[in-house]
Amino acid sequence: MKPTHRDLLVLFALAGWAAALPHYASEFVVSMALTCLMYATLSSSWGLFCGSTRYLSLATSAFFGIGAYTSALALEQMPWLAAIGLGAAIAAAVAVVMGAAVLHLRGTYFAVLTFGMTELIRHAITYWEKQVTGTVGRVLMVVPERDTIYLTLLGLAVLAVLTSIAVRRSRFGLAMAGIGADEQRAQTLGVNTRLVKIAGFALIAAFAGAVGAAMSVRWTYIDPHTVFNPFIGFQTVLIALIGGAATLWGPLIAAVVFSVLAETLRLQAPQIYMMSLGLLLILCVLYLPGGLASLRAQTLRQWGDDIRGGWRNLFSRKAKEAL
């Protein structure tokens, strides 16, 4: 079986199981699954662009917030899916402008500027709300059923993974990988890097915008502080890095681990939750640079040997000192 066929099979099996979930699971589990789907979509798509090109974007919350506001404003005038599509389109349009302005910068400069622009957008919308509508925050009147939201998010997650599979096999994916490996070399071999970067950035912004548009109705009340929360962007990056940003399944696996941790620990022990997230990141960066997805039986055996070897050395040294 070809790897792509295997990936597709796994994806559809998972999606089928996830689609049946709301029919038998408790409200708590469904809410956990929603968080999981949200971050699976955000970090899979983030990894598709940022993992391959190594441009670390912290702007996810900007696109998420833009999507959320779009659907909050548009849902009274248009059907559900149209509002989601509009959220994605506006987020992508903003990404094109933002990308054109900052995508020639690399590394820390790019990361910091995307974060700065996110804050700029958040404050601009807060200001606009105060000046024009006289209130910060909106109550959403028209809200679809829970199952509709759930299926929409599931659809977005499946679409994100499908896009990831397709792009990895395409020239577009090859160009992004070339940019990540050596951008200038890729240019001299004929890649229009500027165009590829802006297109990739807009693509992942569209996903973040769509997720934001679908999630806003879950909260029934939104304000800039919640939907442009930089924490959404940080968590997306953390999950993708912990899972393995350049891999297909890594971000998805990490999103599941993360949402289970989040929902079970956040209420009872918020500090432990944040600490375990931090610890997981440190361990991954130190010992699993390829992320959770690169974990194999081989790796575990290697670690076992290292630890045993370490103990043995320690004991033999102690024994020598004792003599």
Partner: protein, 248 residues
């Protein structure tokens, strides 16, 4: 041919802050030429190459490929116009296999270009550069001299008209240098490529090229056949020394 040179630099100057790396250099290259560029360290050879391939934008001056103005264009536009290059330190995609490295150029600049049968696909290019046996290895795993060959293969995969070679013979053994020179000559003869070749080892270069440009402190001080250049008083004073002139 439309009568235009394949690549033309008109009065190209590149400045980095207060330093003038390339100072008003003009040169035109005709189809099928095999030219060398020599000069002492810091003479501006690589910077001139960077300007010719769009990697560095000239501070002033103009660049044309077959009469089309390319000044200020991004490197991929140069590649699309048939200008390919290698880098002094091989910049292969270390994690990709040798054949995937070749495939990269075929997928982008080389995609819609007419190609000789020697550049038909990955296998034919691997044959040409002699890396068939290494095709499946990751590029990081082959020897430095094989990486130099791979660099040339990657450039050839863009199916160029003009090839800029930056010190491809550096660090090679004598027999490897000879093989490299044979390969370069073959590229020119069989693919009708224009080749511009920078080399620090002057003797090697003078033996194989038909035209030499000498750069000194960013300026072009000579341009002619190897025999003319080694007799040029300015070149001898600046660079070659008397013994070279006698040897030639």
């Amino acid at each position: 041919m439309n009568g235009h040179p394949l690549l033309e630099a008109r009065d190209v100057t590149v400045r980095f802050g207060g330093l003038t790396a390339v100072d008003g250099v003009s040169a035109a290259f005709a189809p099928g030429e095999l030219a060398g560029i020599i000069g002492p360290n810091g003479a501006g050879k690589t910077t001139f190459f960077n300007a010719l391939s769009g990697v560095v934008m000239p501070t002033s001056g103009e660049l044309f490929a077959q009469g089309q103005r390319l000044t200020g264009a991004a490197p991929h536009r140069f590649a699309q116009q048939g200008v390919a290059r290698t880098f002094q330190t091989p910049r292969v995609f270390a994690e990709l296999s040798v054949s995937a490295n070749i495939n990269f150029g075929l997928q982008f600049a080389g995609r819609h270009r007419a190609a000789s049968w020697l550049l038909k696909d990955e296998t034919s290019i691997l044959n040409l550069i002699g890396l068939v046996d290494q095709a499946a290895l990751p590029a990081a795993a082959i020897t430095p001299s094989q990486q130099r060959l791979l660099e040339i293969g990657m450039a050839l995969a863009t199916r160029p008209k003009l090839l800029l070679l930056d010190e491809v013979a550096a660090g090679l053994t004598e027999s490897e240098v000879e093989a490299m020179a044979q390969l370069i000559r073959r590229l020119r003869d069989e693919l009708d490529l224009t080749v511009i070749w920078i080399e620090h080892a002057v003797t090697t270069l003078l033996k194989h090229v038909e035209r030499v440009i000498v750069l000194h402190q960013g300026k072009k001080i000579a341009d002619g056949t190897p025999a003319e250049v080694v007799r040029n008083a300015e070149v001898i004073e600046a660079y070659l020394g008397d013994e070279m002139a006698e040897a030639a």
